[in-house]
Amino acid sequence: MDQQNQTIFARPDAMTETVTHYCPGCTHGIIHRLVAEALDDLGVRENTLGVAPVGCSVLIYNYFDTDFLEAPHGRAPALATGFKRMRPDMVVFTYQGDGDLASIGMSEIIHAANRGEKFTTIFVNNTIYGMTGGQMAPTTLPGQVTTTCPAGRDVSRTGYPIRMVELLAALATPAYLQRVSVHTPQHIIQAKKAVRKAFEYQLEDRGFSLIELLSTCPTNWGMTPSEASKWLAENLLPYYPLGCYKDFDKAEGDK
């Protein structure tokens, strides 16, 4: 065999060849790839339904070779609930930003998680409203500058950022909740494992799984991509500690 022409890296089957519209250095693209790789690894592409959010990743359906629904802002978990309840044989995931999930869609995500809906949520936390041009999100860090908190987020007026996985971990029902990051190759490898595990849990019918991925928005953070990765490491990691907040296997004991 011709060693030089061996394929060692390729586009996952679950992704189309469409060029994404994301800004240079935006980590939405990496996260798309992690999801697609998980679908490929588990061989479920043809049996998968994705639910797109409103946010920068609204056009995610152009990049995936799977069926998709485009939800109203924040309602992806409700659509996923309706769909999966009618088609429990299919693999269903929602892909949501932090404005989508932690602000306008807070009610839908909490109740879907608490009902133990058997789908997976890919939660992309970049601490800002990317698509609408960088406004404050519920996840914006104290002091972080956005267009609607130009002097930096003032927690005395807007409260502290919401830690979503910790919040959801307070519920008894969810099967798997983990926070990961994608700002270094090592973190991406860990994130990949978590995303895959979340889908495995779904396939095993264990219940609701959500992976929060800390993500960069160089454009609205006003940084270069490498500055953004550094800023994430220095500022997001201390406030949003990485790790597993709930695992059905481990929680078995307290049930």
Binding site: E70, A78, G82, M86
Partner: protein, 364 residues
Amino acid sequence: MARVLMKGNEAIAEAALKAGAEGYFCYPITPQSEVAEYLAKRMDEVGGLFLQGESELAVANMLFGAASTGKRVFTTSSSPGISLMQEAISYMAGAQLPCVIVNIMRGGPGLGGILPAQSDYFQSVKGGGHGDYRLLVLAPSTIQESVDLMMLAFHLADKYRNPVMMIGDGMIGQMMEPVEFPDHYEEPELPEKSWVATGAVGRKPHVIKSLFLDPYMLEKNSWELHEKYDQMKKEEVRYELYKVSAKNKIMIVSYGTTARICQTAIDQLEKEGISVGMFRPITLFPFPEPQIHKEAIKKNINDVLVVEMSTAQMMEDVEKAVLGKKPVNFFGRTGGVVPAPEEVKEQIMMLIEKQKKTKAKKKA
């Protein structure tokens, strides 16, 4: 199946099952909670899905997800709940998803009251949510008709790939009347649902969406929707005439249970030698505009009287239908106050007095 005595809400639920509904999503609200209570048991028996959501906002979006599977799904609610559903309804209309939504109306605006009303006419018929879209709107006046229209609603939703809304006032939900269900709901054949999201097996992915960033594509989608609404206007107009004859001097236009109150008034007046006819729209969208026009312009008709449980909402469509050819009068009670047949009679007598005076003036 034999005739059974049933409460409207339960009959509507059972009719949905007869039409092949496989999923039902709900949030409690008076005066329609019995639909949910009935289906909480029945759905298990028939192997369908019953799910109580956290809000009507979520429920309507669950319906959106569920409808994308191509299975027949529905929800029921009442006015304030229907307001919360408008977001998903607009999205489903845009994405051309079939589903059935029942509104057992109560008085509004705001929290309003819990008694029967017809004040969601505009909301149902004129859009309700944002964007260029319409719902097909059915308005039953009896429990039997609620059953028949509920089954038809699923057929029409599939035929047009559009949400269909059935609106009844609170009485439709709460009344008990004898009803008959068919053993099997017979319906004309429908095209295969080639658009459903069932997994991209050996085909290109299906994307169910209402987003078209290219204005020309969005315009195209809007005109496609418009064509469907035009087709509905041609094929789906339904109405009933009651005691319409050349002896009528007045034509009532009324829908839902209000039309039955008018019937009582018409029957009583008939005994007193006064002949009044009624036009009862059954589809509120498409509105029987040309048909009302045709009846109203008949020589013998001097006045049209619209009777509604609202402050003159359908009235606007009747005026549009009559095109100023005859005076269109209005009588309405609202906020949960149901008009009495005597009140309708009084209105008729006042119109007759007015007509006499005009005639006398003309002679003089």
